[in-house]
Amino acid sequence: MSINGASTSENPLGGGDSIIPKKQSRKPKYTKFTQQELPACKPLLTPAWVIGTFMLVGVIFIPIGLVTLLASHSVVEIISQYETACLDQYIPGASKAQKVNYIQDINTAKSCNVTMNINKKMKQPVYIYYELDNFFQNHRRYVKSRSDEQLRGGKVSSSDLDLCAPEAQVNNLPIVPCGLIAWSLFNDTYTFVSRSNGPLTVNKKGIAWNSDVKYKFSSTLLPSNFPNNNVSGGSTIGGGSLDPSSPLALDEDLIVWMRTAALPSFRKLWGKIEIDLEAGDTITVDITNLYNTYSFGGKKKVVLSTTSWLGGKNDFLGFAYLTIGCLCMLLALLFFIVHWRNPRPLGDTSYLSWNKKGNASGENVLQ
């Protein structure tokens, strides 16, 4: 650099400096880091680079999308919506108030059945889900209303209990498990009868997360003062009751329910059928229709589904990959055509603002 050359120039004042004793020089140390000279890579977006990159993304994404879509399509899923069907058996064409009255009356008959036709062979394990709709498990009032400390079986302070409002205590005694979530436990039950195999056994074990069972729910704590356990008729009914002699960790339905859903339409695992279901078979589901979704117009469904290596049925991922991949290919093609029809050298300085005619800098200052 030319600047370095100046170090040899004489001191402008001349003389007098030799008297000053040599101090330690304050010259900054030269390192590549402090001088900001570390090797750096900044990709230059040349046409070839851009077209190539888009091409590559397209080439990678489209196959991934196809594979994902394929996996999703290999899943067999049968859904049956039953909240209206079950009601129609008893009071067809009921008004909302009638529906609510019906479901809240503990004395009304609540059993009903739906049939599900197996079109395609379902390999075991076949998962049973219930699906709720328009149910806001993600509502803040709802999400907050639990005490993890209590569920874990720890010492519950009054502030912990406060978290559970408005379902924290009855008659000044703490509810175990407290909170709106536990109180609104889903309590419809299903039994499955296959036309060919007769009644199917449903495995209710292992439907909750292992970590939840192990760490988050106490294996010794027994439910107590649970409001749903001593409902004496009327309309105060919440969700399901709990077995007062079974510790929380054993009630996997509760554990599944307490892992709140992020969206208002959600499925929760209810059990597993551990035999293959052949195509052409018909399954009759006997339902006890207890859970109140009629107040807020929610739907209830029962779902049978197999899984693939990618989980349940979900076409979104495959479509997303395919869309992005195709878009990239399209852009690559577009850029290629533009570059081919109208090429220009990289770094053409004549396009710089100050090289453009009639746009000299500082000319249009005072307008």
């Binding site: 806001f136 993600n138 509502h139 409002a165 609104s184 709140t260 969206l263 807020f296």
Partner: protein, 1084 residues
């Protein structure tokens, strides 16, 4: 005593002063009506009634008790901080979705960091102040003894004694000096940046005080009545009244200003007039401004937008939730609407909605990132560290790396549009070197000037010369000869300066090499007579004061009015004419005539000094030589002295003039040296006239003295001319050039003379040959006409200033018209006949030509020759007649360049096409401009169209004012940077968007006040174009990324809430929850 008792009553006293003034009306002394500052000299206790401020000065931004609130206030100037505080307050509410600590902690961190930094800076200022305030000074204790006191304990009315080299502790009225006739010399570098010595003279009545007789000191008793404290450094008016009723007018010549220092004088005695913050220098200082980066401010604006977005989001949240609760709250049984609380109560949905929208503010608070502010601080500190570590901005000569004072302005460096630069010590080293001379029609001296060297480096032909074939030949010949001579003597073809470096005779002020003259060799030259006379004139015609050991010529320093004057005396010394002592009437010289001659002591009787003034542009002395001859020796600007030559005896004037033009073109300051032998009778008659003129009182005096001087300075004979190089700092022309190429405009604001400024302008390629110079000056004929007219018509001061103001306005309007006219394409100019300009030779100075315009402009204007238009010397030589011709020759010139096809040539073509203008304006005109809003506007319009602007003779305050004006004029999107090295630049540095200080040799005030301190001007290039750009880009990128990030976080949070009826459930866990319940994902 009667009077004193009258003065005891505070209010009444002011009235009394006014009355008295009316009585004084007949007197010539002009005392403005607000002269209410009153001092009992030598009786400080009596002054206590007026409650003058103490001599304690403080530059601190805060006082101890106001520190916390004010520094907090400083922090809260960021709009975002108010928001953060409000959010933190909200987080205390029970409905807050986040833990309070996760909101309070970062806020407290940022605030405390900011306050600590302010504290640290203020402590540093406090320490600096303390150092100044506790300097010792000798003070009269009232009993005839002088005791040492600290500066801060000084009171108005105290009598102090200041020793040689010391700074004046306050504004003093000079009473007496150990120098002859009450004279003392002061250096005012801290005030105006000038290193020359200025003379102050005490009133004759007070000369005796402070002499051996201490009783006089004790008995001294007088009152001073003068102006109220004000900021004007160059004016002062008052009356010194003795108890016996005698009153003497006092003026700036008796005032010793704080922060200037006593030089070349044993000691002085003075009375403290203004103390502390009343002193002129403190009045000139503006409070330390808190600079904020424009980026910070635009960030604030973005924050407001984000805040609006946030409000929309959170009110949407509130409204939607409220409606939902109202309409469907009762049906969602799983939320237990029957056991309601304010957050969920279908009966009172409005309350729930309001709470929910407050909650939304916190919930989507991501949109306004506090972490951005923390990150910004950290990034800036790191950037500052990198700048300070830059080896390429380290100056080995002064052992100083770049220092960053306000890292907050890093990115501003990359957006600078205009640089306001000081000249002395910033662009130049403030060192003048005798470089070339022309004696008896022969040019001596070789080597390459900075201008030549930089022109060569930039491979630009010396502009004007190339336009005209005659000039180009002469110039290149001169250039070639010097090169050939260099190569002949040293065998070094590449750089002429290097051969001069080996010069044995080189010293400060002397960078001349020519074997024909040095070492006494001149005696063998054929025109040795002229040479001898030439050197004698150099050694005699000056006002410099020798300082050093008489018997050791090499250690002798000369304190001169300007460094170029000193350079000439040094040159004479080197040639064997050693000037070593000055008394008011005699000049002592030791002459060595010839290579082997013995030194001889000579005495020259100094009869008169006809002083230099910027109007006269020359100085003369009348000296009686040892052989009895009576000579008038004169040196001055060639343009002026040429008019004074004896028309019958032109001598070498033509050759000398040609040489001087050439010197001027290569960036040297030129002076013509002439003399005249006086007849005894002639002198005696003149002397009487001159004495009479000098004894006139008041404003008349200067005019009459000038007239008298002019009378004798006639019929001169040319001996030769000198070329002195104003040494530029290393790399300045290249830096200026590159900054200009980067589109940065450079203004020079200097306290120097106009000619000097113009020279330097050329030297550092701010002014280029072929640029049109628009000069607005109060020293021209027009201004003088106005003043004369005013005197004739007896106009009051106000009316005069109005006249002058309208003069300035006319000039500016003309300039604007000219600039706008030629900002169009050159072709259009040459095509439109009515824009033709005709030049007429100037009346008042050969340097600046007046021109009159025909066509669209009115007759009266052309008669007044309003616009001064300076032409480059080469333009003068060729008899170019009009604009048309000039631009056409410009085109042929560009044609030539195009054939060469070098990139530099191309840029030159571009520059030439733009037909650039340079505005040159002096401080007096500026004063009128700054005093009027309309004029300010006009001035800005002109300036912003000009490629370069030079402001000469500006005071520190004006520098700051101009800077503020520029800052205003540039508007929001373009920034100005001020760079300077002296205390006189502090105001400017503080006023600019970015202030850069040169940690040069001239004290550290500028560097202290600056935001960035660099050791050399050329580092500015790297600071702006490399670091500035990097910082700007990186910080901008970071901020953009931050907003991308916060939008992502905020909007996703909002979007997720649309799925939960805007219940306000946070999507992300805050840190406290993360640590408390590991694995608690809650499914969200």
């Amino acid at each position: 005593m009667v009077r004193r008792t009258r003065f005891w009553k505070g209010k009444k006293w002011q009235f009394a002063v006014k009355q008295q003034q009316q009585n004084d009306d007949g007197d010539d002394v002009v005392v403005s009506t607000d002269d209410s500052h009153f001092v009992f000299c030598n009786r400080p206790a009596l002054n206590a009634q007026f409650r003058y401020v103490t001599n304690m000065t403080s530059t601190r931004k805060y006082s101890w008790w106001s520190f916390l609130p004010r520094s907090l206030f400083e922090q809260y100037r960021r709009a975002a901080y108010w928001y953060f505080t409000a959010m933190a307050a909200l987080s205390l509410a029970p409905f807050s979705p986040y833990n309070r600590f996760s909101v309070w902690l970062p806020l407290a961190f940022v605030l405390i960091l900011g306050i600590l930094r302010e504290l640290w800076e203020d402590l540093r200022r406090y320490r600096g102040d303390n150092l100044v305030n506790s300097r010792p000074v000798l003070v009269h204790d009232g009993e005839g003894h002088l005791l040492e006191k600290q500066w801060k304990h000084l009171c108005v009315g105290d009598i102090v004694k200041v020793m040689d080299g010391d700074y004046f502790p306050a504004d003093l009225l000079l009473l007496s000096s150990t120098g002859p006739e009450g004279i003392c010399y002061v250096e005012t570098m801290n005030l105006d940046g000038e290193t020359n010595l200025k003379v102050r003279q005490a009133l004759q009545v007070t000369w005796a005080i402070g002499s051996k007789d201490e009783g006089l000191l004790r008995k001294f008793e007088a009152n001073v009545k003068c102006e109220d404290p004000n900021a004007s450094l160059y004016t002062f008016a008052g009356l010194l009244e003795f108890p016996d009723g005698e009153a003497y007018p006092i003026g700036p010549s008796q005032l010793l200003l704080r922060d200037s220092s006593l030089q070349n004088t044993g000691s002085v005695i003075g009375v403290v007039i203004y103390t502390g913050h009343d002193t002129k220098v403190m009045q000139n200082s503006s409070p330390v401004p808190s600079k904020r980066s424009r980026l910070d401010r635009s960030l604030d604006r973005v924050i407001w937008v984000m805040f609006a977005v946030l409000l929309t989001l959170s009110s949407t949240t509130g409204i939607v939730l409220g409606l939902w609760i109202k309409n469907e709250g009762t049906s969602v049984w799983y939320l237990q609407p029957r056991l309601s609380d304010p957050y969920f109560n279908p009966a009172q949905a409005v309350i729930a909605g309001i709470i929910s929208s407050l909650n939304g503010l916190v919930l989507y608070g991501y949109l306004i990132p506090i972490s951005l502010y923390v990150s910004l601080e950290v990034v800036r500190v790191l950037q500052a560290a990198l700048m300070m570590q830059d080896v390429q901005m380290y100056d080995p000569a002064t052992d100083k790396p770049c220092r960053v004072k306000s890292a907050g302005l890093n990115e501003e460096l990359g957006q600078v549009d205009t640089i306001l630069s000081d000249k002395t010590g910033t662009l130049t080293c403030n060192q003048m070197d005798f470089f070339r001379c022309s004696i008896g029609g022969v040019s001596y001296g070789k080597g390459t000037t900075e201008v030549e060297a930089s022109a060569a480096r930039l491979s630009l032909p010396l502009g004007g010369a190339s336009l005209f074939p005659d000039a180009i030949n002469q110039e290149s010949q001169l250039y070639k000869t010097s090169k050939i001579l260099d190569s002949a003597t040293t065998g070094n073809m590449t750089n002429g300066v290097e051969s001069a470096d080996h010069n044995l005779f080189k010293e400060k002020g002397f960078n001349f090499y020519d074997a024909r003259l040095l070492g006494g060799n001149w005696a063998t030259e054929e025109n040795s007579q002229s040479i001898e006379l030439f050197f004698r004139i150099l050694a005699l015609c000056h006002t410099a004061i020798p300082d050093g050991n008489v018997d050791n010529p090499s250690s002798m320093r000369y304190r001169a009015e300007s460094p170029d004057e000193a350079a000439l005396v040094v040159a004479a010394k080197q040639f064997g004419f050693y000037f070593y002592k000055r008394t008011p009437t005699t000049l002592y010289m030791r002459e060595t005539l010839g290579p082997k001659a013995q030194p001889v002591d000579c005495k020259y009787q100094l009869l008169n000094v006809l002083e230099f003034s910027s109007a006269r542009k020359r100085m003369s002395v009348i000296v009686r030589f040892p052989d009895g001859k009576l000579l008038l020796l004169c040196k001055g600007a060639d343009s002026v002295v040429l008019q004074l030559l004896d028309p019958n005896n032109k001598g070498f004037s033509t050759q000398t003039n040609t040489h001087l033009k050439q010197y001027g073109e290569v960036g040297l300051r030129t002076l013509l040296i002439a003399y005249k032998e006086l007849k005894e009778e002639e002198y005696i008659i003149w002397q009487a006239k001159f004495e009479e003129a000098r004894s006139t009182m008041g404003r008349e005096r200067d005019i009459r003295t000038e007239e008298a001087a002019e009378e004798i300075e006639r019929g001169l004979t040319v001996v030769g001319g000198t070329g002195v190089e104003d040494k530029l700092q290393a790399g300045v022309p290249e830096s200026v050039d590159r900054l200009a190429k980067a589109g940065i405009k450079i203004w020079v604001l200097t306290g120097d003379k106009m000619e000097t400024a113009i020279n330097i302008g050329y030297a550092c390629s701010l002014l280029r040959q072929g640029m049109d110079k628009l000069i607005v000056s109060m020293e021209g004929v027009e201004a003088r006409n106005v003043e004369e007219k005013a005197q004739r018509d007896g106009l009051s001061r106000n009316e005069i200033s109005k006249e002058l103001q309208s003069l300035v306005r006319r000039k500016l309007e003309d300039a604007l018209q000219l600039v706008q006219m030629h900002n169009v394409k050159p072709q259009e100019v040459s095509n439109s006949e009515r824009h033709q300009l005709s030049f007429s030779s100037s009346l008042h100075s050969a340097l600046s030509h007046s021109f009159s315009r025909t066509g669209s402009l009115s007759e009266s204007q052309s008669q007044n020759s309003i616009m001064s238009r300076t032409l480059s010397s080469s333009l003068q030589m060729s008899s170019i007649q009009n604009r048309h011709k000039k631009s056409s020759s410009g085109q042929t010139f560009t044609q030539k360049i195009k054939n060469q096809e070098s990139p530099e040539a191309k840029t030159l073509v571009n520059m030439d096409y733009e037909l650039e203008y340079a505005l040159i304006i002096d401080g007096q005109s500026l004063a009128y401009i700054l005093g009027d809003n309309g004029l300010q506007e006009l001035f800005l319009q002109v300036c912003l169209k000009c490629a370069s602007v030079l402001c000469c003779r500006v005071s520190p305050r004006q520098k700051a004012q101009v800077t503020r004006l520029v800052k205003k004029g540039l508007g929001q999107h373009r920034l100005c940077l001020a760079i300077g090295d002296g205390a006189n630049d502090v105001g400017m540095i503080q006023a600019a968007n970015v202030g850069v200080g040169i940690t040069g040799v001239e004290g550290a005030q500028a560097a202290m006040a600056a935001d960035y301190a660099i050791a050399q001007f050329r580092f500015l290039e790297r600071l702006l174009l490399v670091h500035g750009r990097w910082c700007y880009r990186r910080i901008s990128l970071m901020i953009l990324y931050f907003f991308y990030k916060v939008c992502l976080l905020g909007f996703v949070s909002f979007y997720s809430n649309t799925f939960a009826h805007f219940s306000g459930q946070p999507l992300y866990l805050d840190c406290s929850k993360l640590s408390r319940s590991r694995g608690d994902m809650q499914g969200l």
